[in-house]
Symmetry: C2
Subunit: 300 residues, 2 copies
């Protein structure tokens, strides 16, 4: 399974980067290969200062070896050997009419002293963070998610959508980071779902990612916008930073366990503003976003 899933994300990284280069039309991804002292490493692919994408990263990593104590504690396991691989991506477009997107798909294995697998699971998700609301785009994103989910299990979409709303929540602001999508974790073998079933699900949902986001970025990337739209985007990007640095478990775990900092923090937006107590005008497009973030919407 680990070979199968790693091959999948290697190929997926290539195809997603190709698609984003086509969408951008100017900038190309550059590659940073890195190795991890305890075992494994990754390929970080970064795009910056494009015509459409201000900053983005599509990273894969495969790490293994001794399970760090902090991770043993977090995972509540006695296993001391592990394998993990995954793909993480974040795209921050220039145009404030285009949402930021984040996605991640990952696979874990735990081993006993003899190297037998004691536990294994998939995790992942994909979610959208708009600055201005275009209902059609958000519905499209959620519909794509639901269609794939439904093919695998009719209960997935509702459950994973709710997980996503609960997880990407800036509790200190009492608002969601964005308009959600899917979030799933600890997807393990059950009497009705084999690891192979989970693989098929994650393979299909991740392969379909570009059909979720591509039409949104392509249809909005040339829209006109003003300085005040850009200013709002930069203030909202501040909330993105707040979520990632204060609440996101993956980011904090990486920062506190000597992860590769630059690969982890590629998720942070390129230009960000914090203005004291900025409040949008009543009934403005900006306040419409806030209303939606305060009350998660059923998009499909």
């Amino acid at each position: 399974m680990k070979t199968k899933f790693y091959s999948h994300i290697v190929q997926l990284q290539r195809s997603i980067c190709d698609e984003f280069e086509k969408i951008d039309g100017k900038a190309k991804f550059f590659e940073d290969k890195w190795t991890r002292d305890g075992g494994g490493g990754g390929i970080t692919k970064i795009i910056e200062d494009g015509k459409v994408i201000e900053k983005g990263g599509v990273n894969i990593s495969k790490v293994f070896g001794e399970l760090p104590q902090s991770m043993q504690k977090q995972l509540n396991t006695k296993s001391n050997k592990f394998f993990a691989c995954g793909l993480s991506l974040v795209i921050h477009p220039i145009n404030p009419m285009v949402p930021t997107v984040h996605a991640n798909w990952r696979y874990f294995e735990m081993y006993d002293d003899d190297g037998n697998i004691t536990d294994s699971w998939f995790g992942g998700g994909q979610d959208l963070t708009p600055y201005y609301i275009f209902e059609n785009d958000i519905e499209h994103f959620h519909k794509q998610c639901k269609t794939i989910c439904d093919k695998h299990n009719p209960s997935f979409y509702v459950k994973f959508k709710e997980n996503c709303d609960n997880y990407f929540f800036n509790s200190h602001r009492n608002e969601a980071r964005g308009v959600g999508g899917l979030f799933f974790d600890y997807c393990k073998q059950t009497p009705t779902t084999s690891m192979s079933d989970w693989f098929s699900f994650v393979e299909e949902i991740s392969s379909n990612f570009i059909n979720c986001y591509g039409p949104i970025i392509n249809s909005k990337k040339l829209l006109a916008y003003s300085k005040s739209h850009k200013k709002w985007q930069e203030i909202r990007r501040g909330r993105y930073v707040e979520f990632n640095l204060v609440h996101d478990k993956g980011t904090l775990f990486g920062l506190k366990t000597n992860g590769r900092i630059e690969s982890i923090l590629m998720s942070l937006p390129p230009k960000v503003s914090w203005k004291y107590n900025f409040l949008p005008e009543k009934n403005s497009e900006e306040s419409k976003l806030l209303d939606i973030l305060k009350n998660p919407v059923k998009w499909v």
Copy 2:
């Protein structure tokens, strides 16, 4: 003591704001008064878009009532009633040749069920975060700190300077946030130091704050700088955000216990950049800063 210290910070807020308005020459502080549901409140004073100061806040607060459980745990106390007051300030200048400055002075009291004081202490500090190194300025800041410390106890400066280096450390980057200053906490009554002695110390060090920072900002505020200096400042401000949101106990405590978000996050810089793996040129002014942040210096 609580009345005495609160009067001091009320007056100090006024005098520090007056001094910063003189230094800026254009912008004025505006005031936000707020109240806390459980008891108390604060006066947040904010300055933005000045001639010299890009963003700054000088806030006081006085809060009291039932001690939140999370705070009971953090303070390892069984008291369930408390009083706390303090002044917090952060100034982010426009000119990248001028360091950002932070200071905070505070006083706590804990009570038993009958309202008797069971414990009380002072805390605080002041520290400098430069973007470019001017040794004379940093030495001046530390000398001012040391002179006041020495008047009260010859061991204070070394101890509080070391505390500061240890506390304001971005462990995930393996570098200090800035060039330090003083940091002290849980300053309680001892056989040789009364609470009145601690008050005198905190009163004097806080009253002297403007003599620490004023000459630095005044001597550098008109220096010429380029776009690339500004870019470096914005990237370094990203490290400031990382510290405040990932490591700073006060900020995290506030965010997780329903503190007044806008007053807490006034510390975040106005404009910030994250660029992937930005590395300054060897032997540049920028790399000189990094060398110093990686190896804390004895400034006096």
